[in-house]
């Protein structure tokens, strides 16, 4: 009896709610091959093509290093934008989002579980890139560079979660995949994630400043000393500002649904 009460008590604790919500979110996500396969395979496939097979001599022989950082950004962007941008939009249209809001569960658990799921996907993608880069691309970094790259990429999912959330709350589920792709792919290209920004004309290099992916990639590249050389604080400030704006827009959209 006492143990039953204990287990009941445990089952209503906030952490347990979060745990269950996250576990179910992960299970749900992994049961969607249409999400899992592109997320886990595309960044690595591109990296193999551009970073390992073709461009060994580009970027002063640092191509495989450079691209591990930028495809890392590309990799973590995907799950974050799609989980929030598409996932939330679809569940909103299905009414599932409203159910979650009405349930006694704090709605933050819904978001946090999605964030954690995105990060776990990001983690898998980044580790894949690390292994392929190390084995086939001769990428050698100090231990602290490896860890710092991983941690900053995982933290870097946050701005894209917020951006995705705003999109997800704003648009219709049916339109969501197309719209997210329209943002995701051009932003990746124009931020220099696929090809180093240095080969772009100056005008396009300037345009890159409007994308959060550019700022994150510059921060990650600076770990290896391969960034364009601007002070990190500008990139950090830009990311924080962009996230804050997205957050405000998302909050407005959220309240509209209330």
């Amino acid at each position: 009896m006492i143990s039953q009460i204990n287990s009941m008590r445990q089952s209503v604790s906030l952490s347990n709610i979060l745990w269950l919500e996250t576990r179910n979110e992960i299970l749900k996500t992994f049961r969607m091959p249409a999400f899992v396969i592109p997320s886990l395979i595309f960044p690595v496939m591109f990296y193999v093509f551009f970073g390992v097979l073709f461009n060994q001599s580009g970027a002063d022989g640092n191509m495989s290093h450079y691209l591990i950082a930028t495809y890392g950004v590309f990799g973590i962007m995907g799950p974050a934008l799609f989980s929030f941008g598409v996932g939330v939009a679809v569940e909103k249209d299905q009414g599932w989002f409203a159910v979650k809001r009405c349930s006694p569960m704090p709605i933050s658990a819904y978001f946090i579980s999605r964030i954690l799921t995105s990060m776990i996907f990001g983690l898998i993608i980044v580790l894949e890139l690390f292994i392929i880069g190390a084995v086939f691309g001769d990428v050698v970094l100090t231990r602290s560079q490896w860890i710092l790259t991983l941690v900053s990429l995982l933290l870097g999912t946050l701005p894209f979660c917020v951006l995705g959330l705003w999109i997800g709350l704003t648009i219709k589920g049916q339109a969501a995949p197309a719209i997210v792709n329209l943002i995701y792919l051009p932003m990746a290209f124009l931020s220099g994630l696929w090809i180093p920004l240095g080969v772009f004309p100056e005008f396009m290099q300037n345009v890159a400043w409007i994308f959060p992916a550019f700022h994150l990639s510059q921060m990650v590249l600076s770990i290896q000393g391969l960034s364009l050389g601007f002070d990190l604080i500008w990139h950090l400030l830009s990311l924080v500002t962009m996230s804050a704006i997205a957050w405000l827009l998302a909050a407005r959209a959220f309240n509209k649904h209330a």
Binding site: R23, F130, I131, A134, V140, L141, T142, R143, W146
Partner: protein, 603 residues
């Protein structure tokens, strides 16, 4: 729930394992320390085997503020320590015979030559860099000691380079001549001497003047070194009291009496066997060890420089062999041998060629270790270089880190891994030899003299080398095919060994840019003028004298140009991969001339 926990724990472990297995730079701390020695010139080197100019050592090599200090001084415990396990350290090399201008000192250092002893340059060059040798700052240049202007007779060797130098033709002028050189900053006096006062195209000072010059140098405490090219001149130079001979000779075997005199008077010799090799028609580029680190530093233009030879029909065929035997005999008699190259004369380039001279010296009976001494301690003691040429306390921290032991094979000096100059590490600069391919029309001259290279066609003649020929280029609205062409006129006059006059296209104004013609099959152009023989000059990077391609113009009228096509494949002695310019010139015997040039196309 507990399964999930185990799952999470396993996943976490997996992530950690992956991160721990990722490759990190080998001996990361060591790498960072080597990089630190690029920024600091105070450090302690451990674990290396190093040569101080006399002995090989194993104890720590300690450098403070760019100078070697006694390693027992235990006050230096907080020094940055770098380990060069399995590496070999030798003092920075000294090239005891060079001629310095342009990038010479930079090139020298990039191959591990940290000091050059120049044997003739313009005093302005010397005064601009002389002070650097006293400094301990980070630099990308070798240090320079120099004779400044050499002492030669009017019309003697040294006067043929197209700039005016003071000359001497009488013993009475010797003292004031030497004083003038010292005032210009000369570190020692270099004298050109031949036992005949007229030989080949040159004249020479006579014996009395030679003796007076040497005596004057001694009076002012300067070394007197003498350029000789044969046995008799060497003998007389030694008799006159020369401190050193700056070449060897290959016309005759050295005899006991000359050896005895050189020994008694402690005369040293800088045989410059590299030059004798070039004079023998040997291309001096085969000594470079293919897989060596040095081979990655040498540029295309330096290779071209090495492959040049000097036309020396006056010289006997076995001159190099005899010179080597002479070196062997002098060396075994205990005469001091110094390594010197005579760069940048054809066949020798600054820095790289000293590695060849060392090989040639070992082929002349020096052991690898003795060859090292010839480029370090021997130069130190012969020229009184105080703090260089060795690594004893007080010396400049100029030294080289080698991957392989130079005592086993002297060509292991080419396994250069790092250069220290004034105590600062300098990485090897790997050269990428870039040449741009070119295809299509080079110039049409439809409305002016402009060409695709952005530099218009211009006149060229031997006047720029103090010859007397003249040339002028103008645009003409008639001429070939009625649509405009370049008109070149002028006159060939004697007064230069190989006279020329004509018009020229270059790919960059300083002729530093090269173009790659390797993928082209022919060079075509329209040409009109008086029937007869003409020449194309092809300028190739690193080679001073252009390669010549003759072509013949049959009888045509000026308004009816002939299409000439040069098949590039017919001239495989030309390095088509690094062309810097093309010139169209008339033959030396032509006199006054006019010709039209049009529609230059590379196919």
């Amino acid at each position: 729930m507990s399964y999930s926990k185990i799952g999470i724990a396993l996943a976490t472990l997996l992530v950690i394992a992956i991160i721990m297995l990722l490759p990190t730079p080998k001996d990361n701390k060591q790498l960072n320390k080597e990089l630190l020695t690029e920024k600091s010139n105070s450090f302690r080197i451990k674990d290396a085997v190093w040569f101080d100019g006399i002995n090989w050592n194993k104890h720590d090599l300690v450098v403070v503020n760019g100078k070697i200090v006694d390693n027992s001084a235990d006050i230096q415990d907080d020094l940055l320590t770098v380990s060069y396990n399995d590496k070999f350290i030798i003092p920075g090399l000294i090239d005891a015979h060079t001629h310095t201008w342009g990038n010479a000192l930079k090139d020298a250092l990039s191959f591990g030559v940290t000091t050059e002893l120049d044997m003739f340059t313009q005093p302005e060059v010397l005064s601009s860099v002389k002070s650097q040798r006293h400094e301990s700052v980070k630099t990308d240049q070798a240090d320079l000691f120099s004779a400044g202007v050499l002492a030669t007779s009017p019309g003697g060797h040294g006067t043929e380079y197209g700039f005016d130098i003071p000359t001497i033709d009488h013993p009475d002028a010797a003292e004031s001549f030497v004083k003038a050189r010292i005032a210009e900053g000369s570190d020692y006096i270099k004298i050109v001497y031949h036992h005949k006062t007229k030989y080949g195209p040159y004249t020479s000072i006579d014996f009395a003047t030679l003796k007076a010059l040497i005596d004057a140098a001694k009076k002012y405490n300067k070394l007197a070194v003498v350029h000789i090219s044969d046995y008799q001149s060497a003998k007389e130079a030694v008799q006159a009291g020369a401190d050193g001979l700056v070449h060897s000779f290959g016309d005759k075997e050295v005899d006991e009496s000359l050896i005895a005199q050189m020994k008694a008077k402690r005369v040293f010799i800088i045989p410059t066997l590299t030059m004798l090799s070039s004079l023998s028609g040997i291309k001096n580029n085969s000594f470079i060890v293919e897989e060596s680190t040095l081979s990655t530093v040498v540029s295309k233009s330096q290779i071209n420089q090495l492959t040049q030879t000097i036309d020396a029909s006056f010289q006997n065929n076995d001159a190099l062999e005899i010179a080597k035997e002479n070196v062997a005999k002098m060396h075994s008699a205990g005469i001091k041998i110094l390594a010197g190259t005579d760069a940048p004369n054809p066949g020798a380039a600054h820095g790289i060629s000293l590695h060849q001279e060392l090989i040639l010296l070992t082929e002349s009976g020096l052991s690898p270790n003795e060859a090292l001494i010839s480029a370090t301690y021997a130069a130190h003691s012969a020229f009184g270089l105080k703090n260089r040429g060795h690594l004893k306390p007080g010396a400049k921290a100029d030294f080289l880190i080698l991957n392989e032991d130079p005592r086993i094979k002297i060509s292991n000096t080419q396994s250069l891994s790092l250069i220290y100059k004034n105590g600062y590490a300098k990485k090897l600069e790997v050269k990428k030899n870039i040449s741009t391919p070119i295809q299509g029309t080079l110039a049409e001259f439809t409305k002016d003299l402009s060409t695709k290279t952005k530099i218009p066609l211009f006149a060229t003649s031997d006047k720029m080398a103090k010859g007397n020929s003249v040339a002028k280029v103008s645009w003409s609205n008639k001429g070939c095919n009625q649509s405009g062409s370049a008109k070149v006129s002028g006159e060939i006059k004697s007064g230069f060994p190989f006279p020329w006059a004509g018009a020229m296209v270059v790919f960059s104004s300083d002729m530093s840019k090269t173009f790659d013609f390797k993928n082209n099959t022919s060079l075509d152009f329209e040409f009109g003028g008086e029937a007869g023989n003409y020449r194309l000059f092809i300028f190739v990077k690193g080679i001073q004298r252009p390669k010549e391609i003759p072509f013949e113009l049959p009888n045509t009228s000026i308004n009816n140009c002939k299409a000439i096509s040069i098949n590039l494949k017919d001239y495989d002695n030309i390095d088509w991969s690094s062309v810097t310019g093309i010139a169209w010139v008339v033959n030396p015997n032509r006199g006054k001339f006019d010709f039209y040039l049009d529609d230059i196309v590379l196919r």
